[in-house]
Symmetry: C2
Subunit: 342 residues, 2 copies
């Protein structure tokens, strides 16, 4: 953070009609936002959530409770406004964009889905490399282009959401390949039982072993990742230096953000962790990036649901900084005036 | 909770387009709200926050960093929309009412303040009983009448906020009189230093000792409490059976709610703890009532700021329950359909 912005923002906060520091973490969010925007106080006028969807070849191995069809069925639900992310975004003030990064279905021409389809699902990383080099490069580039578009549209805060049956398996594989123990990051996802969980664990460990050693985050992502996850990574990297703050969501999005962080640790300076999800492993990755989750509702839904809730809080922090009266303007005594009362 | 409401609500939630239970605590809030309203799904259309203000004689003992004047100065700030509670309520969808329970100042005729003034501040409980019997009865009755008015106005969710220099001292005294150790509930309030904290501790312990033994919560409240706090207690008790849910705020409001809980433990069934404040002692009282705070932002501002933020979350829970598509309506496969995919 530029020291001049930090001290100007601190002075601004301390002159609002409240005891110094009494808005707690909201003041911290406003400080971080001021640093991102380089503006005191920071302003949020337009917010959007991008829900990146893709299918995962690894689903063939029976790692999820839901059929792959759900990925494209949910895309239709996003468009008609019936998904959790639609309802939450309606009230938290986010525009919703559904991004097809690699869904194994065709959408009708003229649909409002943002078409960044790299392919109809990745290959199973248990048997093949998930993507070709060309596919991986395209996915990263798609993400960067989408970020450029969001910046151009004037969004001040963008949230990243995910939809993809099998994506907690993919996310776990990415993290295991970076050195996280499998036991710390393989989870029940949408709610599989003990036997399915043990199977998922084996699939992740075997798959990661098969493609190693890895030369770095891009290599890991190409061999094990999802199209839509590489797009998220490119998207997050593409926001750098733009002044646009970014809310991340649960486990799969956070895994993609961690890949961006491995490529460029500076991304953490403009990321906010919307929430702590119930999916195991989410907390440790956030901690690795130095991000503290804003809320913790034991959610495990994805779609950006935790990102928009946390984003609403960051927005509230900005709104209090922008709209509260100062001691002078409101004619309220400051704590320094207390002596007169004793 | 009526079992039929609980099972109907659970079935409703499980048929929305998301993995069962994946909205985590939001689903729990929706369940509790359904029980309060006796309706599936529960609906929130109108929300209000009542900020109860009063002055405390104990401020004469030098327990606060701010002069007593701040109480009435902040009332003017509430009316002009410049306080934190105004900004947060604007975006969380709460109408703001400033209630004069016992501020030591006169407000201009025609001001929008709800005039429930019992007196111009309580007496210092270090030297006198804080209130007379008549004052205490009036305050409790005022609170009940205000609750009846809120019910009649059709608010589905009401939040309780506080404003009163010295009220963390008063709240601590109430709790110590009920048996909480002083070390667990005497806090820095708006930010006093070590010496002032030690003094505040002594004031609380001596004051509580002076007026004991106590015959119960009403006796404690009369001898040690604040006018506006007795009004909060009456307000909370007055909501019973109405179907209106109530958000409580930080330490002073929670102390008043705990007095209501001591009088009638059933109040916990329609209370939500908006947040966990940074003021010491807040967590243990919430725990005693079996209430889990919704957010934890280290706030220590009062005014209902944590109550409206938490209330927004309860509202979101209700909105997802009301507005999300079902699996059938959205044409999304359920987890039971997974077999076809293997």
């Amino acid at each position: 953070m530029e020291n001049s912005i930090a001290s100007a923002m601190q002075a601004h906060l301390d002159n609002l009609t409240k005891p110094a520091g009494s808005l707690g973490k909201l003041e911290g969010y406003a400080m971080k936002l001021a640093a991102i925007q380089g503006r005191v106080p920071p302003v949020i006028a337009k917010k959007a959530v991008y829900v990146f969807a893709g299918d995962h070849g690894i689903v063939e191995e029976g790692v999820s409770l839901y059929p792959k069809d759900v990925t494209h069925e949910m895309m239709a639900n996003f468009l008609s406004g019936g998904a959790a992310i639609n309802v939450l975004s309606r009230y938290c003030g986010f525009e919703v964009f559904a991004v097809d990064g690699g869904v194994d279905a065709d959408f009708p021409a003229g649909s409002k889905i943002i078409d960044l389809k790299v392919g109809r699902g990745t290959k199973s990383f248990l048997t093949d490399e998930a993507m070709t080099h060309a596919e991986f490069d395209l996915a990263m580039e798609n993400g960067r282009k989408l970020a450029a578009g969001a910046i151009k549209e004037g969004f001040d805060l963008v949230a990243v959401g995910d939809m993809g049956i099998g994506n907690t398996t993919t996310a776990a594989a990415l993290l295991v390949a970076t050195g996280f123990p499998a036991g710390a990051v393989v989870d029940r996802g949408t709610g599989i039982d003990d036997a399915a969980l043990a199977h998922k664990y084996d699939v992740v460990v075997e798959g990661v072993k098969k493609h190693g050693p890895y030369s770095g985050a891009p290599d890991i992502m190409r061999k094990l990742g999802g199209f839509e996850m590489a797009e998220m990574t490119g998207f997050i990297l593409g926001l750098k230096g733009s002044g646009v703050a970014c809310m991340i969501d649960g486990f799969p999005v956070t895994a993609a953000a961690y890949m961006a962080f491995m490529i460029d640790p500076e991304v953490a300076s403009y990321l906010f962790a919307g929430h702590l999800g119930k999916v195991k492993g989410h907390g440790p990755i956030l901690e690795r990036m130095g991000l503290e989750p804003i809320v913790a509702f034991d959610m495990r839904l994805g779609e950006g649901t935790g990102a928009v809730i946390g984003g609403f809080m960051v927005d509230l922090a900005s709104k209090t900084a922008c709209e509260m009266a100062s001691f002078e303007s409101a004619g309220v005594s400051k704590s320094g005036d207390v002596e007169k009362n004793f």
